[in-house]
Point group: D2
């Protein structure tokens, strides 16, 4: 139904150019993006951890926010100025040290001015999400 | 995987007794509930509408909150004192007058003290949700 | 700093005409509205209660949503089509039966397209809020 | 009314020991904490910025989450295992490059199992918040 305006290679090229600090292409990779969903993978690093050895909240919030931006870009094409207006996160379980963190994002609504989506954050291949996010992006006028 | 502690008939009986004002069994019905998900249906009524002929926000919030309670009951059995601690709703599209409103709830986490779930609110058989809710319930000590 | 575009009498007249089902002027009254804040009062009624004798969640959500609309109207003047896009509520304490419920709303941001505010819900004259809401309204183009 | 269980010096000592990666004491300082509110300051750094020169969302989310933890510690004393269960952020305005970011946190509820608070994020001495957060922490059994 949905058709991606940018494929994975185009997304990575755009993000490397526009968001070099968030997306060096080394620790985060885009596994898929199709205009309605996307799947991101953040390679495990000790910097992700908080005391007690669990994945830190800011790591999960940042990855979810980024996944929402990637699925939005795949839906509407290169728009540098879309900004998050609201993000709500529920922390559900501890992520396991040593495992990559995956973010599976899905658009719930793509309007002219606002896009809303949800993101499930996963610890490696474990089925139950470690956190769940809903977020809203404001889309600038053309 | 999950096993319901209460089936639909038991849920309806419990809710009619404990929540007569919210659940008279007339306008809201439980289509299914299995310990991990549930589907509720609220029969269309003009009282649902706000000006402009769209389904009102409070109608959707109340139905979503109730659906979360039903799926929780189906998972843990009759617990009258579980209370909502947080509810976040994103309004996505206008619901159409004349159509029933459906609430499809799913548990994201069932802990000892907290349960978190998400609810998609649907306008009749239209596939795109008119609103999306995440909610947290606090479960009393036994 | 802020100047109200509509005073309390103008707000009540507008709301009675446009939202007769939500605002008959009987159970909800506007104590004040100044373009940046407003205070609403909902007269106690048994219909507000859920089992256990506490104020129901939907009552609080509906009043908070309405308070956000009132403070927005007081800030921008009569705009029938502003709609809630997001509402997040934290339930904090039980409201006492027999007491009016008050909603103290405050705009956090008034942009061209979006307005964001917060609402404290109070049980009579008790100082600690029974619930806290943040909400976003989308403002239509003129 | 409220009495702090830990003063600023005790908080800084505890945080340096338990959360060395989040709180080296260099870029974030605790200006005040009194058991009901706290004020944190994060020194401006270019690492805070996202493209376009605004303060990044993850920077604000991380600081707000940390401020909630600090005000909670000041209220209940040293509890390493309190964890965030929900965080909701509304992004309101762009923060200005070159200015410190301040986080003013306030407890809305301190229960036995859950604490709820709100955080205003400020750009230097500008009065209007650049973001607003509500967050819930789960407090472990003693």
């Amino acid at each position: 139904m949905s058709t991606a305006k940018m494929n994975v290679a185009e997304l990575e090229q755009f993000l490397r150019r526009e968001f070099p600090q968030a997306f060096s292409g080394d620790d985060i990779t885009i596994d898929s993006a199709d205009g309605a969903t996307c799947l991101l993978r953040q390679r495990y690093s000790e910097r992700m951890l908080r005391p007690g050895g669990t994945i830190s909240g800011p790591t999960l919030m940042a990855l979810a926010d980024f996944a929402m931006y990637v699925v939005l870009l795949s839906a509407i094409g290169p728009v540098g100025l879309a900004v998050t207006t609201n993000l709500n996160i529920n922390f559900l379980r501890k992520g396991e040290p040593g495992r990559d963190v995956l973010a599976a994002a899905r658009l719930l609504k793509l309007g002219k001015r606002l896009a809303v989506g949800e993101v499930s954050l996963l610890s490696g291949s474990a089925p139950d999400p470690i956190a769940h996010v809903t977020a809203t992006y404001s889309i600038p006028n053309k």
